[in-house]
């Protein structure tokens, strides 16, 4: 077996376990119906963003939407928005060995959004957040170049990786710049709308839901 094949198999196993762990994590949070619907709509929105901007390589609002989803909805939903965006959009583009990598890369973008929310206590500056989105674009590029090197490249993974990095540099820079611009224009607005959705659904439950032992609260 060649070292190349070893790389492929090792990365496949690693990715599969990370993705499975991510799904199990989301599963364990037992998302309520409104979270499921919100995640699904965000995924669909990100997918449509990817489809609409398909003619422009790497200039697409998808990464921003995933980061914003993570920011507004939290860690596990952010991860799942990212990884499902990759999975679902590839039903329209092309599923392939790159799908798990994209699921991972976009899932990480979702986590990044949630991290930003946690670290900044929900209030990062507009420009700072835009820069973070740009950086996420570059990070996404690094992951995908690694994927290309492992899946399609030759026997020398490291060289292939650098070749792919050089080759895709203009595209990755475009991705980062587009992320920056998209977030600067629409980011805070989308966050506000998403947070409003979340606020609107915060349940105030004065009556005892599962414990009819306290009928006094109902009367």
């Amino acid at each position: 077996m060649t070292t190349h094949a070893m790389w492929q198999i090792a990365s496949a196993v690693l990715l599969a376990s990370v993705l499975a762990a991510g799904l199990a994590w989301y599963e364990r949070t037992r998302p309520p119906a409104r979270m499921v619907a919100a995640v699904a709509v965000l995924v669909a929105f990100a997918v449509i963003g990817r489809i609409l901007f398909a003619p422009f390589p790497n200039v697409k609002p998808t990464t921003d939407i995933v980061i914003i989803a993570g920011f507004a909805l939290g860690f596990a939903p952010g991860w799942i928005v990212g990884s499902l965006t990759a999975l679902v959009s590839n039903f329209y583009f092309l599923q392939g060995p790159w799908t798990p990598w994209q699921m991972f890369a976009w899932g990480m973008c979702g986590l990044l959004g949630a991290c930003v929310a946690r670290l900044s206590r929900g209030n990062p500056g507009r420009v700072t957040f835009s820069l973070i989105c740009a950086a996420a674009g570059l990070g996404f590029g690094v992951v995908m170049n690694l994927a290309s090197a492992i899946n399609l490249g030759g026997s020398d993974i490291v060289t292939s990786f650098w070749v792919y990095t050089v080759r895709s540099l203009p595209f990755d820079v475009a991705h980062a710049a587009a992320n920056f611009v998209f977030f600067l224009i629409a980011g805070p607005l989308l966050i506000r709308m998403l947070q409003r959705l979340r606020d609107r659904h915060d349940v105030v439950w004065p009556t005892a839901a599962r414990e009819p032992a306290h009928p006094s609260t109902i009367a």
Binding site: A33, A37, A40, F45, I51, I80, F91, Y92, Q95, D156
Partner: protein, 303 residues
């Protein structure tokens, strides 16, 4: 705006088509397994004879499943990528002993030699990527995403429901967006900015999410539990594809143990092409093509 909408419609029309072929008849998970086995062959064997047989098997299956147009469409798009890979390799690697051109200079890369082995291997990489694309195209056009997500519900039921709902939302939201684009043109005076329309579309999507959550609740989502495997529904196509998958895995293992269809990239290109190597490659191709060969297309009602 209209050009973008047209592109979107085109993209939305690509994907799964039920044309009644063996791959569409078989269960989604079984077909995925078969595609992975075929992909494994491509990952483990760089011998171009094996790659050629796998490529033929994929194209033959696509033909018999009525998706040859979809697959060739993908190959047409992928051709430049394959070509690029064939061109990059001689630049990227200095391995190989037969120097064709010495001392070429390029910005960023610097001085380098072009070797025959690197050219050969570049061609093989390019060809291999095309075979991978053919397999992926076959997969996308013959596996029903809905069925695939359904099988995910055996493991991770809430993620699978989320994904199904997202797949369902894509055309709905796209249609909303297109209607809003038309409404924008119907407004008198200066049309509002695209950003405003996108904002409106996003707000509307979130409203749709609230409505959809209600529907999920009334369908008993709160009780959702992993699906049970339904073994009775296995049919002939499933068994053929399953046998082909196991056959491929057995052949891969046998090939690795006996060192058949070997390939050396550097320092000298050595392609195993003895009679037994070719027979081995042909066996892989035939085993892969077997389901498509044996199961006729079912053009009537499916399932």
């Amino acid at each position: 705006m209209n050009a973008i909408a047209e592109t979107a419609v085109k993209a939305l029309s690509f994907g799964y088509r039920d044309r009644g072929g063996v791959m569409q008849q078989a269960r989604a998970t079984i077909v995925v397994g078969w595609c992975i086995a075929l992909g494994l062959v491509v990952a483990l064997y760089e011998n171009p004879i094996v790659l050629a047989f796998v490529g033929f098997a994929a194209l033959f299956t696509a033909l018999r499943c009525g998706v040859i147009r979809e697959v060739s469409f993908v190959l047409m798009i992928a051709a430049p990528i394959g070509l690029l890979m064939a061109l990059i390799n001689p630049i990227a690697t200095q391995n190989g002993i037969t120097v064709l051109v010495a001392g070429l200079q390029l910005p960023l890369v610097g001085t380098f030699d072009v070797t025959l082995e690197a050219v050969n291997y570049g061609l093989i990489l390019g060809f291999r990527s095309l075979v991978i694309f053919a397999i992926c195209a076959l997969y996308v056009s013959t596996v029903d995403p809905d069925e695939l997500l359904r099988s995910l519900r055996r493991r991770s039921v809430r993620s699978a429901i989320t994904a199904s709902l997202a797949v369902r939302f894509v055309p709905v939201l796209a249609r909303d967006g297109m209607n809003m684009a038309i409404a924008r043109e119907c407004r008198p005076g200066e049309p509002p900015s695209t950003a405003a329309v996108v904002r409106g579309a996003f707000a509307r999507s979130l409203d749709r999410a609230s409505d959809s959550a209600l529907a999920l609740e009334t369908r008993g989502y709160a009780l959702a539990r992993p699906l049970r495997v339904d073994r009775d529904r296995r049919r002939a196509a499933d068994w053929f594809v399953l046998c082909s998958t196991f056959g491929l895995i057995a052949l891969i293992a046998a090939g690795l143990l006996t060192g058949l269809a070997s390939f050396e990239d550097y320092p000298l290109t050595i392609i195993g092409c003895s009679a037994s190597d070719v027979a081995f490659a042909a066996a892989i191709g035939i085993v892969a093509a077997l389901p498509a060969l044996l199961v006729a297309r079912n053009t009537g009602n499916r399932r």
